[in-house]
Amino acid sequence: MSENGKRTIVIDPVTRIEGHSKITLHLNEQGRVEDARFHVTQFRGFEKFCEGRPFSEMPALMARTCGICPVSHLIASSKACDALLAVRIPPTAEKLRRIFGLAQVLQSHALSFFYLSSPDFLLGLDSDPATRNLIGLAQVKPEIARSGIRLRQFGQQIIERLGGKRIHPAWMVPGGVSAPLSVADRDAILAGIPEVLAIAESTLEWFKGSMEKFREEIASFGNFPTLFLGMVKDDGGLTFYDGKIRVIDAAGNTVENGLDPAAYNDYIGEKVEPWSYLKSTYYKPRGYPDGIYRVGPLARLNLADRCGTPLADQELAEFHELQRTAVLSSFHYHHARLIEILYCVERMQQLLDDPDILNKHVRAFARPNCLEGVGVAEAPRGTLIHHYKIDEQGLIRWVNLIIATGHNGLAMNRSILQVAKHFVRGDRLKEGMLNRVEAVIRAYDPCLSCSTHADGHMMLQVQVVAADGEVVEELRR
């Protein structure tokens, strides 16, 4: 305790999220949280790394920015390369890429929900941290743990079937994909769908039923007005592969519709805060920091008018009922994730039932026809933007990436402050308080390793710092 009683709490490393980061909570004289900062501390400049490389290597190179969602980078990067070639890829290639992407969302959401966050829901946010993980969960609620493992495995197996073992980087290429889908692979994927569909449905039922228990968390986990941004189809439907950018406000009113994703620079501003490598973005017309917006599952479901699959559409209607405005609490990211899992399974079935999915024409060939290309996709965590410039020889000269966690940077910061103010008392610190601070970050499922393009595992620390700068508490697991 310092003399004037002001202290700072630092959570470092935040466990069960991807990447390396640190949270500092600054206390005032009364031991109340005054300010909170989310630092991302690792950095490896991937943008620089790509300069001078042939553009055709980019999808595979980009897939290496992240070990958790390589497929999302493959998609955004391949789309940026398609733009360089200025070709329309064969329709079947597009469908295959969609399935690939859906499988990725499925497995990534399953990881986030079941492996990283469900221990909080099932064992309690105040439960013993030693067993508050998937293994502890498997002992208490084996069926939930099994469901999570099965869903994730299903997604990963599809990725392997399409892309080859261990995500063969050459499958998704500029101009399409390198190999068509075989009948055997299609049938094998289809055969697994009824089981995972049932899991997705029952998990949603259970989660909705248990939401009552988390009233306090729902009220304080990043529950504040922001804009929401993401891609929707031309008809306003949920999409992961392509569409136009829509922006809505907290009241649920459309602010912008039909924005060209390639022109992101017109409406998305980027800012790097001195304490973090994370590039935070804002909606330009509203300026910084008023242009705060959220992306990802919560945003997508707030933005979408429909899903386009029967079960997910029912769930979406219910989701929209949660609040008359847009659904504002970041706690509902979890709920949104489960609905998206359901959608992914249903949508994959639709795509695989289409006989054209076996078409052998899956790649367009061309030389680069444009010196600049943008590729945008909805990754599990939100809108993912790849923007490349090449020279006459086809070598990369400039790269800009905006990653979901960057879009959510401002909102994550504000959410941490809100949670910390609500739950953390400097004079009687409990582990459960700090776990809530971490839990709100997990709600965003940030992938820090790729938002700073750093190489890292799930690490973060919380530090409590007094007004005079003395670190009085440190949490590191």
Binding site: S56, A60, R64, A170, S178, Q393
Partner: protein
């Protein structure tokens, strides 16, 4: 049928083998199914002994001999796989990896690279030397091909195939030691080379991803070399 006097008998790894008198140790070893690692040699091209991976021990000589250029001799006793040789070979490969930027995972030749597969075969899991991370250039000025100096191991197969088979002599080596690099014409961009016929032989004999076809994505660059022995044979018949 060769005359009896032209047949040599020798021992490789304790095995008695016979060879025609002009054969190299490497050729005889291969005929007998004895593995000697190589990178620079390629059937159909002359041998320069550049990579030193094929070094073997010959009884009675203190120096190690490159099997690709050393002719067999009567009663020679050759060891191809002693612990000492294994150590040297690993060191050579490790040095090749540190010398330039060989990032297999994102290389066009991933999975089809002689350097990579040799490293796997020799069970290299770590590199014990410091990486140099040089800033090597990529020249994509040619219509159809790319030279990526990051992946070049200076085996000079491109230089030899261009001179000996295509007859263009577009490729050559410039600089010495660590500064050595392959060049086109008088160190001009490949795309503005006056001599290059665009035949692509150099691309296909290149053991790594240093030479590749444009537009190939990671792991997509497959090399076809079946043409080489036929071409060599044809050229020789022409000359005679």
């Amino acid at each position: 049928m060769a005359k009896a006097a032209n047949i040599k008998t020798l021992k490789i790894d304790g095995r008695d083998v016979s060879a025609r008198q002009n054969e190299t140790i490497l050729e005889v070893a291969r005929e007998n199914g004895i593995f000697i690692p190589t990178l620079c040699t390629l059937k159909g091209l002359s041998n320069v002994g550049a990579c030193r991976l094929c070094l073997v021990e010959v009884k009675g000589t203190a120096r190690l001999q490159p099997a690709c250029v050393t002719r067999v001799e009567e009663a020679m006793e050759v060891t191809t796989n002693s612990e000492r040789l294994q150590g040297y070979r690993r060191a050579i490969l490790e040095l090749l990896f540190t010398e330039r930027n060989h990032v297999c995972a994102v290389c066009v030749s991933n999975g089809h690279c002689e350097l990579q597969s040799l490293a796997q075969k020799l069970e290299i899991t770590h590199v014990h030397f410091a990486y140099r991370y040089p800033e090597a250039e990529v020249d994509a000025s040619h219509e159809r091909f790319i030279v990526d100096h990051n992946r070049c191991i200076l085996c000079t197969r491109c230089v030899r195939v261009c001179e000996e088979i295509e007859g263009a002599h577009t490729w050559d080596v410039m600089g010495r030691g660590i500064d050595a690099k392959v060049i086109t014409d008088l160190n001009e961009p490949w795309g503005s080379s006056q001599t290059c016929t665009g035949c692509g032989k150099c691309v296909h004999v290149c053991p790594t991803g240093a030479l590749s076809e444009k537009g190939k994505s990671v792991a997509e660059m497959l090399k076809r070399r079946q043409f080489l022995p036929y071409l060599t044979q044809m050229r020789e018949e022409d000359r005679s």
